[in-house]
């Protein structure tokens, strides 16, 4: 059983509360003094531990008077000691006589059948006592008699029945206060325990979710490993197929006739196509597992763009799409893997041509820019501004069908295609963009999609222009 349960059991059953735990002392003191003001009787309230919880602090002036000499002081001290020792029981109050001839009334404070403390009222003089008793005269012997008379007169006087009524009133007032205090005490503690219990529950669920999450991550890793292994194993026999078909075509195994040549060419071409696909898969799994190694060097983006245009010009021409390059001055050099960036740009451009109808145009551009800084427009902009990093922005704009806002994040998912029916028409595996994104990220760059006006899509690749490590 956990701690929360245990402590609540204590809370609701043990009832070992003392008054001082339940009642607010400042409020209790206020109540006591208003009580004294109303009835003219001094009041003290003690907890079960004997701790003084409230005190009206008004001592009869008579005590101050007696305090002036030793016999008087001793007599007062004796009274106070007796009052302190009073141990009233429920239903049987204790009366302690005072040197003044009056009485202290000590009553047990009971709540829910338990003694929770005691209240002491007094001293109160019976109105019938009109003259100082002999005990008092003795204690005041040697002090001015007129003053004694004056102080004696000031003592509060109440009939016993009246005192009883006041005491009962006090008890019921305290019972109400105790009830409210206990209620607040229970409520706040239960609240605390509920929060603890909720926290425990949520922590448990979090742990479960975390375990499930870790398991999924592990499965994902296994999938990538599997992909890498399979791709690798597929490549080996495929290399033989391509190699031997090539040898056949070269006539190493003797002459072949025209029909045989056509068949072998088909085998060779399809083999190359398959090899390309397997390489792509291998790249993806390497990028996912983070084992792709980049061969970085200083490179010019202008050259890269021109090279890609030159490579894809025949494809574009065949489709009737106008392909152009636009490289502005001052584009910084990049420290990057040029072969990989070429792959990125080729892929994006191929895609753009693929999705652009005849008569449309595709523009590849390179220009200088800055890395975007996220949401730093507000606080601390002055600090963040200093971190603006120069970058190269490569863009591929087409006038094709465009990509809807809701699809823009998902086009980078592996195997995802906006319209799977268009795959048949446009071809492709759906792996290209996913690899592009990962290659860009491997260069600490960002890839984004924007709309081209009036129609089509712009892919923006922003790469930080870093210096080679010294």
């Amino acid at each position: 059983m956990n701690d929360a349960f245990k402590s609540l059991s204590d809370l609701t059953l043990a009832e070992r509360y003392d008054l001082d735990e339940i009642l607010d002392q400042a409020s209790l003191a206020e109540m006591a003094s208003s009580f004294e003001e109303l009835f003219g009787v001094s009041l003290r309230i003690y907890g079960t531990s004997g701790r003084l919880l409230a005190d009206t602090r008004r001592v009869p002036t008579l005590y101050g008077f007696l305090d002036r000499h030793l016999p008087g002081r001793l007599a007062v001290q004796k009274v106070i000691d007796r009052v302190r020792r009073a141990a009233p029981q429920p239903g049987s109050p204790e009366r302690v006589g005072c040197i003044s001839g009056g009485t202290y009334l000590a009553r047990a404070l009971v709540y829910d059948g338990r003694v929770r403390g005691r209240a002491i009222l007094g001293p109160i003089l019976d109105p019938e006592i009109t003259a100082p008793p002999s005990e008092l005269l003795e204690a005041a012997h040697g002090l001015p008699a007129t003053e004694l008379e004056e102080h004696f007169k000031k003592l509060p006087r109440l009939a016993p029945l009246e005192v009883e009524r006041i005491a009962q009133h006090l008890e019921s007032t305290l019972a109400v206060l105790t009830f409210s205090g206990l209620k607040a005490h229970l409520a706040s503690n239960l609240h605390l325990e509920s929060v603890k219990e909720n926290f425990r529950e949520l922590s448990e669920q979090n742990d479960k979710l975390k375990a499930a999450h870790d398991r999924l991550k592990e499965l994902d890793r296994l999938k990538s490993n599997f992909l890498a292994t399979v791709s690798h194993e597929l490549r080996t026999p495929l290399t033989s197929i391509i190699g031997y078909s090539e040898m056949l075509l070269e006539g190493i195994a003797g002459d072949i006739n025209q029909d045989q040549r056509e068949f072998v060419e088909t085998i060779h071409n399809k083999g190359e196509q398959l090899l390309g696909l397997i390489k792509t898969l291998l790249d993806l799994s390497k990028l996912e597992s983070g084992t792709m190694s980049l061969r970085k060097d200083m490179m010019s983006c202008g050259d890269l763009v021109l090279d890609v245009v030159a490579t894809l010009a025949p494809t574009a021409k065949k489709k009737g799409v106008k392909l152009q390059a636009r490289v502005t001055d001052g584009v910084p050099e990049l420290y990057a893997d040029s072969a990989r960036l070429r792959q990125v740009l080729l892929n994006l451009t191929e895609n753009a041509i693929k999705f652009t109808p005849a008569g449309g145009e595709v523009t590849i551009a390179a220009q200088a820019g800055f890395m975007p800084q996220g949401d730093t427009g507000g606080a601390g902009a002055v600090l963040m501004g200093a971190a603006r990093r120069p970058a190269v922005v490569l863009s591929v704009a087409d006038t094709g069908i465009g990509i809807g806002v809701e699809d823009r994040d998902r086009v980078f998912d592996a195997f995802y295609q906006v319209d799977s029916s268009s795959t048949r028409e446009a071809g492709g595996t759906g792996l290209g963009l996913s690899i592009v994104k990962r290659l860009v990220e491997a260069h600490d760059g960002l890839i984004d999609i924007a709309s081209n006006q009036p129609s089509g899509t712009v892919f923006l690749v922003t790469l930080p222009s870093k210096r080679p490590p010294q």
Binding site: F5, T12, D112, K183, L190
Partner: protein
Amino acid sequence: MQLDFVKRELTIKLVYYGPALSGKTTNLQALHAAADGETRGRLMSLDTKDDRTLFFDLLPLSYVDKSGLSVRLKVFTVPGQVIHGSTRRLVVQGADGVAFIADSRIGETDANAEAFVDLKDNLAAQGIALEKMPLIIQFNKRDLPEARSVDEIAEMARKGTEPVYLAVATRGEGVVESFIGLLHRTWHALDREHELGEKFGFDGDGFVGDMAKKLGNSSGLEDILRKAVAGRRKLSSTKIRVGGET
């Protein structure tokens, strides 16, 4: 249960469980109204909002036997709303007996069943099997037009082992009977486990009967227990078996 040998004092915790708005608090209010001034303490309703209990209600009842043993009963309600699961779990902890207050309306059948499964789960979380917990079931709101018929309830109740009572808590009908039924079951379960009657020379049935009188029902314990629509027979047979063991 808490037992203080020195003070000769026994504290028993009873919990009123059930779906939201089935009348748990109303049961406690009716008990409070029925009890005589000496027996009942102040009814504490902790944090209510729009007439719905957020934490719990607590009714303390006390009884001093002629043997000198004083019995303090703490009767709690749990908050019925589903979202207060953790509070329910806290309140039901350490319960010696449970009264399940069901809503008689046919449309509430699922809510009743759900709350009962919740009770079972929350007891299980503390390592207590529901079957070991002294339990009575009260079908409240008998006065509502959509209430399930008595015959149907009796028919269903015969399949169970616990006594089933009928009540209209808003009018106080069946409230004391249900409570006495619960107290009787709880007492016998505690007595079986702790031999309280023997240790203290305490007459358990006498105590339960006296409590009924203090709650304003003088028709006698046997008559009150006979008000249960089912489950009575099994209870008696349990008692006999226990008698054989001791």
